[in-house]
Amino acid sequence: MNLTHSDKHPEAAVYRATIAAGEPFLCEVKAGQTLRLLDLEGNQAVDTLFYSAKNPRERYDPQRTLRKQNSIYLTTGTVLYSNLGNPLLSIVADTCGRHDTLGGACAQESNTVRYALDKRYMHSCRDNFLRASLHDGRLNKADIGANINFFMNVPVTPEGGLTFEDGISAPGKYVELKAHMDVIVLISNCPQLNNPCNGYNPTPAEVLVWD
């Protein structure tokens, strides 16, 4: 994997926020600004969606993004495309090396299928997405498409197998994205306890923005 570092200093960031384990988060990043997502304690999936701030119906499109880069994983050089075919953001630095966009977000309903019927009442990313969206007011359920799982390792085999593996992230690993348009960033700091995507121990993540 090709790891690329950034020379940006946290002290120079114009915005910093820590997302506690299991919490939703929503902010805006302006065109030209750089967003860093930082895995503070390691092995933490950060489920993320992007929308055009001017037209929130325009959102991140995983199939177009994969098709245009002809590759299944996201890393430095990946351009995140929208459902209208426009570039939303580009990944400009990545010290983790691989991020998933096929695994989607955990939900109460999918937990009943994946694990057991009585797992329904555990906390989930889809609940976080809804909570942040409905309070913000610009987004609702219909806007929640397939997301990116930063720091999550979901290998696909040539035979078509797909598994959730132990994370390849570690404390201090980060990914940086440069925005091509004003975007809404919607995050669920994943609360999943039933599989190794968070190392069975969800932890905080940090968001930093530079001009």
Binding site: R64, I72, G104, V113, T157
Partner: protein, 242 residues
């Protein structure tokens, strides 16, 4: 590869021509067979709960709960609500693609050149985004509902480095897939070439659609029992009808 062994009376048949789009409710207990007449067909598929259309096909949920990146016989197509919108009860080509998605008008023009109605009449160059969007608009759905789609009959593999490869020849003349609906499911279809098909000519292939009724739910045994997750998915689906 799993062929269908049972002979069932056909309720209805229709040809979906290359380039065409259609949508209909596949009622609970009905079976839809899509047959590739010439070989090399591709059909982009979206599914929704017909009674509550905010409930939609969720490919990531479908893939991760069955630990697969390819979809074939024995697999279920899940909604975001943990229910089985359709179960793949038979499939003779062995792989249906979740990666490629659909092209929009600009991408089709870039790939095939200009093909307007004004010159070509009904042979004009369609695109998957508009085909699906127009069909969904008939049910008062919109751009927000254009989620990741499944490309039936097409195969795209990822190598060890994650690079994607379109595998030509996945579907041959006569190959088919059968979708069984354990709930009332709105089916949206568009018959256009796969976006990663290297053929530079616009030449979408036709598909035969065939509806039948299944007398017993036994047809879903393969899908119910293929994984414990799917037994729970069917349980969630049956709760709609208690």
């Amino acid at each position: 590869m799993t062929a269908s062994l049972t002979l069932r009376p056909t309720l209805y048949e229709e040809l979906l021509p290359g380039g065409g789009h259609t949508s209909f409710v596949l009622k609970r207990g009905q079976l839809l067979r899509l047959s590739d007449l010439e070989g090399g067909a591709n059909v982009s598929l979206l599914l929704l709960n017909a009674a509550e259309k905010s409930e939609r096909l969720n490919l990531p949920d479908s893939l991760k709960c069955q630990h697969t990146a390819k979809l074939t016989a024995g697999h279920c197509l899940y909604s975001d609500m943990g229910r089985v919108l359709a179960a793949i009860t038979a499939d003779t080509c062995g792989w249906h693609d979740s990666f490629g998605g659909v092209l929009n008008a600009a991408e089709v023009q870039e790939k095939y050149g200009q093909g307007r109605y004004q010159e070509l009449r009904n042979g004009f160059f369609r695109n998957g985004v508009d085909n699906l969007l127009v069909e969904m608009g008939k049910w008062n759905l919109n751009l927000q509902d254009l989620l990741m789609c499944l490309n039936l009959f097409s195969k795209v593999t990822a190598d060890r480095d994650g690079r994607l490869h379109f595998q030509a020849g996945n579907s041959k003349a006569g190959d088919y897939i059968e979708l069984y609906a354990p709930m009332d499911t709105l089916v949206v279809l568009s018959a256009l070439q796969h976006p990663m098909d290297p053929n530079p000519e616009y030449a979408p292939k036709p598909v035969q659609l065939s509806w039948s009724r299944v007398d017993s739910d036994g047809i879903s045994v393969l899908c119910r029992s293929s994984r414990p997750e799917n037994a729970r998915g069917f349980h969630n689906t049956e709760r709609l009808y208690i």
